[in-house]
Structures are given as C-alpha cells and as structure tokens.
C-alpha cells in the first residue's frame, strides 16, 4: 500500500474532478491528478507519474533520474580506476 507504481498519463478524462487515464504496464486505470496538476491539465498527457492508491503523487523527473544514473556510472568508473591502482601497486610488490 505504501509502494507507488510508475504510469504514463494517456488522456484527461474529467477536467472538473481532475481525473486522467493512466497506462500502468499495459493496464489502464483512472487516477486523480490533484496532487500534480499545476498548469493546464492537458500538459499532463504523456508524462510519467508515480501512482499511489489511485493518485498521481509525483511527476517523475527525467533529468534527475539521469543525474542519479550518471552518478552511479561514475562510481563504476571510479571503482575501475581504484582497482587498476590496486593492481598497479601489486605490480611494484611483485617486482621486488
């Protein structure tokens, strides 16, 4: 009940009640856009949102997601460098 699920808003179904149709892994469900609706509702169409007990609670921020993934990748590269450094050290030890 506390876990959200990502879905994509595909159309606005009720402007008064701020409801929209979401596609959640192929399943359609009408959700409330009240938490995320700021400007014109139509602008929500196509957006990925995190859906939680029938409410779109957050718009998933693609730029932030990319930054997080980049940080993770950077970690991988840093790790490689560290490993190479460790290897390098060993090479000296072997030489002795």
């Amino acid at each position: 009940m506390c876990l959200g699920i990502p879905g994509q808003i595909i159309e606005i179904t009720d402007v008064d009640r701020q409801m929209g149709m979401a596609d959640v892994s192929g399943v359609r469900r009408e959700v409330s856009l009240l938490p995320v609706a700021e400007g014109p509702l139509e602008e929500m169409v196509g957006q990925w949102v995190l859906i939680h007990v029938g409410f779109a609670m957050a718009v998933i921020d693609e730029d932030e997601a990319r930054l997080t993934l980049e940080a993770l990748r950077g970690l991988g590269e840093a790790q490689e460098t560290l490993e190479q450094m460790a290897e390098g050290k060993k090479a000296f030890e072997e030489a002795r």
Partner: protein, 382 residues
C-alpha cells in the same frame, strides 16, 4: 521513461557494492563491529530481502528494520474497532487489502467478512467514494490507514465528498506520521543506530526537511531513498560516506521523485482536513506525542469516529492490549531483534496463521523473512 530497469542493472550494482565494501573497510566496519543502518520503511525491508541485498553488501553492514509498516504498528484494538464498525448492518466497510489479515484481539477483518460483515477491499479511497455514490442507502466507511504517503489520498477524498455533499461517506482515520517514532527510537538508550535510509515516498509528500532534527540534534545521517536495488545500494553508500567523513546531513538519493519541499497540493489538503492528535498508541512503541492525525471539526460529518462513536477519540479509558504470549512483535517492530529471534517465528506464527501483523502485511519484516528467507530463516529460528 519509467526508470525501473535502469535501477536494476546488475553491472552497476556490482560497482556500488564494491564502493560500499571499500568505504566499509575504510571506517573499519566488520561483522563483529558492524555499522547499524536502519531502513525505516517496510517497503525498503522487502526490497532488501527480495534482492538479497543483506547478503550482497559488505559483512560490516547490518540492516536494522524500522517501524515503517503502518499495519504492523497498529494496536490490535484498532482492528477490533474496525470490526465493530464493519458489523453494523448499515455499513459497507472498505479497506486496503493489507489490513485484511491483520489479527485483532478476536478476529481479523477477513474472518469478520467470512462471518457476514460487509467488508470490501479497495485499491483507492476513490473506489470507496464511488461505492458511496452507488449505494445512497448504505454508510460507506473507509479505513484511513498509513503514513504521509497515503494521508493525502484520504484528505482529497474527504474534500471531494464535501464538495459533492455525500452524506454517506466517512473515513475511520488511523493515519500516522513518520518523524515522531524516529525521535522516540533515537531517544531510546538501548538503540544503536549509526544512520538511516529514509522512506522515499513519505518524502515525496513531506520533502526532506522534516528530518533535519535527526542530523542537527542527534548527529546522525539520513539519506532519502528510492525503492529499486540500485537506489538502496547507493543510499547505503551515501550513509557510509557521511560516517567516514564525520558528516551528519539529510541527503536525497531519490531526487527523480522527491522534491526538496515535497508536494504542496498534498500538504495543503492534509492541513485542511487533518490535525495532530495529542498522542497516539503504536504497537511496540506505546503512546507517542503528536504521532497520529484526526479529522478536523470542519469535516466532522466525514469522521467515522464522530459519526459512530467508535475509535481512538471515543474510547474512554483505553486499555492497552497485551501481546500474544511469546510474540516478540514489539521488539521486532522497533528493530531491537530480528524476526528469527521471535520464539513464535515459523512455528506459532506463519502467514496462514499469523499472531502479528508483521507476518501478513506486505511491508512487515516477519513476512519478508518468511517469504524470502524461506527455510533458511526457519532453520535459524530453530
């Protein structure tokens, strides 16, 4: 872009695990002298077990499972009150599925349903609203349960019911908040905690600042985290780096979903509909100041407590219900022991015949151990 697969990439996981091991070694964490990191949220507990992260991380890291499972911290008397409401002939009682199998002192909602009470599982409080529209001659009560993540959904639903003038819809409000029990845990001299992984979906609503006191007053790091394996691993790494560098800050790993100041529309709806109760009882933690919410007088017409005279506010001289014999629910809930330390684990208490909510909730620590630990966990218990 849903960003699910990307955050499950095994290669990336390997490099984060290596980085974790590196920092853990730097700070001298070992199996004998581990760093204790509490994941507050039951959803995180389940993700950790589902992906076996507890086994994959450096041995010097010990996960302490926190009280972030809203059904598990619900005293059994609250379930009894739900059944009392549900057994009224005019009532259609609606609830999230999570609460169905949670034992009360006598029976669970599931058993009450089998005995004839009109209890219906719904996915959303919006479904309960729709039931009320379609059944004008019945009283539809929704069991409002959960932390800051679910509270906005019932607040919006009550506002909607008020706009429509629906007179047969009410909420049995047992909403609770995350920061007060964390403070209670930090004040407990028996707890050894070095840092926290914070519940991302709570912060999606309240932002990151309600946790500032943890860093400022208690000097502990907290990293707000997403729910995919890479999110959790990266958050653990961020906590470790803070410990290594002697920092205590509130950081946000889950920025793709969590804005610094949360969700303004949700916060406004919650403030409009709810106010804090002076105190609220938590299973395993006792009464905690200002840790629960009740419906404001302006919305009393939608408050099942007021409407039916049942529940927390109505119960004069509340009795604290004893735990079932031999059950360690309270200690497990507060991270003082592991589910496998409970004498009833896998014996007197199984998902089919639960003694505590921890065994049946999708976010309960005992359920996570049972489901993903399987035979191994039972062996340990023996």
């Amino acid at each position: 872009m849903r960003f699910v697969e990307e955050f499950r990439d095994p290669d990336a996981a390997k490099s984060v695990l290596a980085a974790i091991a590196h920092v853990a070694d730097e700070i001298g964490a070992t199996r004998e002298k581990p760093v204790h990191i509490m994941e507050i949220c039951g959803g995180h507990t389940h993700a950790i077990f589902r992906y076996g992260l507890d086994k994959l991380v450096h041995g010097g890291i010990e996960f302490i499972h926190g009280p972030g499972c809203p059904v598990c911290v619900l005293p059994r008397s609250r379930v009894d009150e739900c059944i009392e409401l549900a057994e009224r002939p005019e009532v259609i009682f609606t609830t999230f599925g999570d609460a169905m199998r949670v034992p009360g002192t006598g029976k669970s909602l599931m058993q009450a349903k089998a005995d004839g009470a009109d209890i219906r599982m719904v996915y959303s409080p919006l479904d309960a609203l729709e039931l009320a529209r379609r059944n004008p001659d019945r009283q539809v009560v929704f069991f409002g349960l959960g932390f800051e993540t679910t509270t906005p959904s019932t607040a919006f639903s009550i506002q909607q019911a008020a706009r429509e003038g629906l007179s047969n819809f009410s909420v049995f409000c047992n909403h609770i908040t995350v920061p007060p029990p964390i403070k209670a845990l930090l004040d407990d001299p028996h707890m050894v905690l070095d840092g926290f992984v914070g519940p991302g979906h709570v912060s999606m609503v309240i932002g990151v600042h309600p946790y500032d006191f943890i860093a400022r007053d208690y000097g502990k790091p907290l990293v707000v985290s997403g729910f995919e394996p890479l999110d959790l691993l990266q958050s653990v790494l961020m906590v470790l780096c803070q410990i290594r560098d002697g920092r205590a800050e509130i950081e946000n790993q889950y920025a793709r979903v969590v804005p610094e100041h949360g969700n303004p529309a949700s916060l406004a709806a919650v403030a409009d509909v709810y106010e804090p109760r002076p105190s609220f009882e938590w299973r395993g933690l006792g009464e905690i100041d200002a840790s629960g919410l009740r419906i404001r007088d302006a919305y009393a017409a939608f408050d099942a407590e007021t409407k039916f005279g049942v529940g927390y506010g109505a119960a004069a001289g509340r009795l604290v219900v004893e735990e079932p014999e031999g059950a360690a629910c309270g200690a497990v809930m507060t991270g003082r022991c592991k589910p496998t330390d409970c004498p009833q684990f896998g014996k007197g208490c199984t998902p089919e015949m639960p003694l505590g909510a921890l065994m049946v909730s999708s976010e309960g620590a005992c359920a996570a151990y049972y489901q993903y630990g399987g035979a191994r966990a039972v062996e340990v218990a023996e």
